[in-house]
């Protein structure tokens, strides 16, 4: 005995989501069936609306309803600073700090040949265009310290070096308020590498 066809299809759809296995997909589908028709309609409309209205900002490639996005049009922002990140989620994380007042540029990924992503699949050309057109003084690379992140940083630094612009990369080390003894050894080794004179 299998689930009746429409239900099976719904479960399959949920199962396509990242991190969702067959059990979770079943639970979601059953929850969906338990909702009232109005609630399901709202849900369906929300999905469609998000898909329709959310797009990449034509300047910084951040996901936004507006184009250019809220950050790019904000007059209070320091236009001389561009912080390069891999993903819109990184923009949100940096915005949470409230410390950064410059603009962003979202690469929409990192260089990873295994996933078929090279510089041409990223918004690198657009970044170069912005640097050429606008009066940018510093590029801050806020990119994860992974193999792919490091390769992307190396690629960008090679590309931007001839432009003669100041380029920095955010520091890596111990989480604030954490205990040295609980830090994993790889993080600690990297923190040692990046030590600073005081």
């Amino acid at each position: 005995m299998q689930f009746t066809r429409p239900l099976a299809k719904l479960i399959e759809q949920f199962q396509k989501f990242p991190g969702v296995g067959p059990k979770s997909a079943q639970r979601m589908a059953f929850h969906m069936l338990s909702l009232s028709p109005e609630e399901v309609n709202i849900f369906a409309d929300t999905i469609l609306e998000a898909k329709e209205k959310v797009r990449h900002c034509s300047q910084c490639f951040n996901l936004s309803e507006l184009d250019p996005c809220e950050i790019c049009t904000n007059a209070k922002r320091d236009r001389k600073l561009i912080c390069v990140v891999a993903d819109t989620r990184d923009v949100i994380a940096l915005e949470r700090t409230g410390e950064y007042k410059g603009l962003y540029h979202v690469l929409t990924g990192l260089i990873s040949p295994l996933e078929g992503r090279g510089p041409e699949q990223l918004s690198v050309k657009e970044l170069l265009g912005r640097i050429g057109e606008e009066d940018v003084h510093e590029i801050i690379l806020a990119i994860n310290p992974t193999i792919e992140g490091d390769a992307t940083v190396l690629y960008l630094s090679h590309l931007l070096k001839p432009v003669g612009i100041t380029m920095t990369r955010i520091a890596f080390g111990l989480p604030v308020g954490s205990d040295l003894e609980y830090a994993d050894d790889v993080t600690l080794a990297r923190a040692l590498e990046g030590r600073r004179e005081i």
């Binding site: 040949p113 090279g118 510089p119 193999i147 490091d150 390769a151 190396l154």
Partner: protein
Amino acid sequence: MHIHSIHLKNFRNYQEQVLELQPGKTILIGENAQGKSNLLEAIEVASLGKSSRTGNDQDLIAWQQAKMIIEVAYEKGGFAETVGVSLAKPTAGKGARLERKIHVNGVAQNSVRGLLGRLVCVSFTTEDLNLLRGGPSYRRNWIDDIICRIRPIYHEDLSAYQKVVTQRNKLLKTLFEKGKITVTDQDELLAWDKQLARFGAKIIKERLKLLQDILPIAEGFQRHLSGQKEALQADYVFQAAKQAGASDPDDAEDSAESAQEDQPKSVSVSTLAKAEPAEVASILLTLLKQKRSAEIGRKQTLLGPHRDDITFSLNNAQASAFASQGQQRSLVLSFKLAELTLLSQALDEPPVLLLDDVLAELDLVRQGLLMSAVKQDLQTIITTTHLSKFEPEWLAGAKVFQVNQGQIANFVEMKDGAPAGSLRG
């Protein structure tokens, strides 16, 4: 350090076996293919998380069984510890990979790295002649495994490097299939070259440091065995070509300039060890530039520490080519004893020594040198087919077990009056 007990379940030809060991010498006697080496292999898996006998972990699980378990209880630095490794065949619908679980003192570990540096063993097998005669991978693995036991974080460096190679290979393959290479492609490849050089230089520096530590110790043992001073040197060979010719360390600089397509660049370890990681990285970058078109043609990364080699020379003659059989055996024994010495120093206590069928191959002088190393408080587990090949000294105070068809039992005196009386001395 010594092992108290080993518990095996569905490991190779063992169904269920508990073996209690004493700190000194243990001899496992049995016919061929009864499970002597399998027991030592189990200890190796508990120590390094992998077996040197097979690249396929599936082989470790007994025929038609779903799951194998190895548990080893040992004493380290005066404290009791346990390590456990289990491998289970995947249940239906969960992919094809074996499910591996690792425990240290009952705590689950999420990677093999958790095991490294815990139960530390040095194993000496007949395969070890490959250190001189075998392909480059034997020498690389030998060195990498020693470093992993001294500095477990090195395992992380190796896997980071491996990830770079995988990504880079995929890129080379994509470029090959694309046919033409744009400026963007070149720049991307350069970024991966730099990654390879950075992580590669880290690995090479660690290997050089280890070689610098181990060579003088091995030279000492070699002098003891041969009765004369023979200078033991090593060259680090970038990009292993099929036949790495004998290389004179003195003209390594000259050959660097004229590095041909298939001519490896070899630099003496003592010279290269002085170089900064950035210098080693720039050597790799230069070599990568020379190899670029060949790499795209072959769709893979052709040089870097995953293909490098180390050549050893005695009195300036390459050991694998010019040393006699006897010299080679002595040299391998010297290397293994140097490994034992180095690990003892790093651990502040001797590791466990595993001798798989090698004693019978050693002549009296070499057995004697090994004996003098074993005499200290060193737990030694020895496998053999016949007790008669041993010097009596080996048998004194040794506990002897009989291995028969995947079962281990106390040794029973043989009919022909073997020296059973002295066994439990």
